[in-house]
Symmetry: C2
Subunit: 237 residues, 2 copies
């Protein structure tokens, strides 16, 4: 079944929801019968099914059924605002693995990455989250923040369980079964001062593999570790 | 410290090991004093340190010290020979997370991926593994096989513990602490027939996250799960 993404707040049974322009092209390429059922997600927990209706070059979905998917456990990912192609991959993986918020961190070493994430890239990053959501079958896309510095990030209301991806850290990640904040440095890592601030804010150094991981690998690995911890808790293991 | 990769079999104390041409450029960009210590890896478990010697446009490392790193636990990754850019990312992640062999699987649905991995891409895939090895600080790069079909793959001598990444699978990955074979479908997944053959060969369906994962995400997640299982076993948890 084809999935399309629409803006939040429009999905209700009986309503004809206009399909955004960038989605129409995708639909046209994969166009089947006009009445093929279509899955519609808004990235905020509403999943609908309906029938595709073409009106000339425009398309709409006549919603037949909607479902609310409960909000996922808060999983905050803060990663150095490094290379934007890597960051786009990171956003994709974070979406697949259930992150609820992704914050590009404007750290000292990220600043020297010529291809680093800037505030102007935010629409593209958010778009990638929605594309990943279509692929992975989820209902909630992570919010993608504009780049912010450590002071702003640490001033947020963050989950109590906090991991700092760190090759020198513990290989016993604890506390990952509930709400979690994860901090991952950019290429070259956090500076000692940044690391000290994160440690001071309760981020526990954890490692997720035998070697030093690229920052996008570390995010995928850490979110997997958190998911496995949730499953173990669910099953009482 | 700068790391360079050389072909296996040359690293011994006192020897001046020529630096391959593609590495020389990298060294020139980052060129420091001619006697800066350099780390040299061969991807097959030998790690050396030595001094850089420039001879005109060429460079060599005068090896001072070598160390043998024990071979890692066998971790075989077979993944659908899908989009090659994703496969390159997969190779990078597999290297960071300690895979010992990566097999691109020529499956039915991979065949229809226009940008899929072909036999001619093997040098580029192997090169990416060595690049990742330099970054991650490891000593062993995975062998990268040319694309092969399921019949050839299943005729290999594979580890007894076998996981099939499958969103409908168990969330209790078992047996991941030792030698392991992992099978991941390409875009669109394995066909039912391919899946049946893998199940028949003892591959247990396992899922690694809340949603359907892209194949490169699934590889990273599965290797992380295996690593965590090894740590738990090491610590007797």
């Amino acid at each position: 079944m084809i999935t399309v993404v629409v803006a939040p707040g429009h999905l209700a049974a009986g309503v004809a929801v206009p399909v955004p322009e960038e989605e129409v092209h995708h639909l046209r390429v994969r166009r089947g019968a006009a009445t093929d059922p279509v899955r519609v997600v808004d990235g905020c927990g509403t999943v609908a099914t309906g029938a595709l209706e073409w009106q000339g070059k425009d398309a709409a979905v006549r919603v037949e059924h909607t479902e609310r998917v409960p909000a996922p456990v808060p999983l905050v990912v803060a990663a150095g605002a490094g290379d934007r192609e890597r960051f786009l991959a990171l956003i994709e993986k974070a979406t697949e693995l259930g992150a609820t918020l992704v914050v590009p961190l404007a750290t000292e070493r990220a600043a020297s990455v010529a291809t680093g994430v800037r505030a102007s890239h935010r629409p593209r990053l958010s778009r990638r989250a929605l594309e990943a959501l279509k692929q992975c079958g989820g209902a909630w896309a992570p919010e993608v923040a504009p780049p912010e510095d450590l002071t702003h990030f640490l001033a947020r209301s963050l989950p109590a369980a906090r991991w700092l991806a760190d090759q020198g850290g513990s290989d016993e990640p604890a506390g990952g079964a509930g709400p979690l904040a994860l901090a991952v440095g950019p290429e070259g890592g956090f500076t000692e001062e940044e690391r000290d601030r994160l440690l001071g804010a309760g981020f526990a150094p954890v490692r997720f593999g035998p070697n030093t991981l690229r920052f996008d690998t570390a995010v995928t690995a850490a979110l997997t570790a958190a998911w496995l911890a949730r499953q173990r808790e669910t099953h009482g293991r």
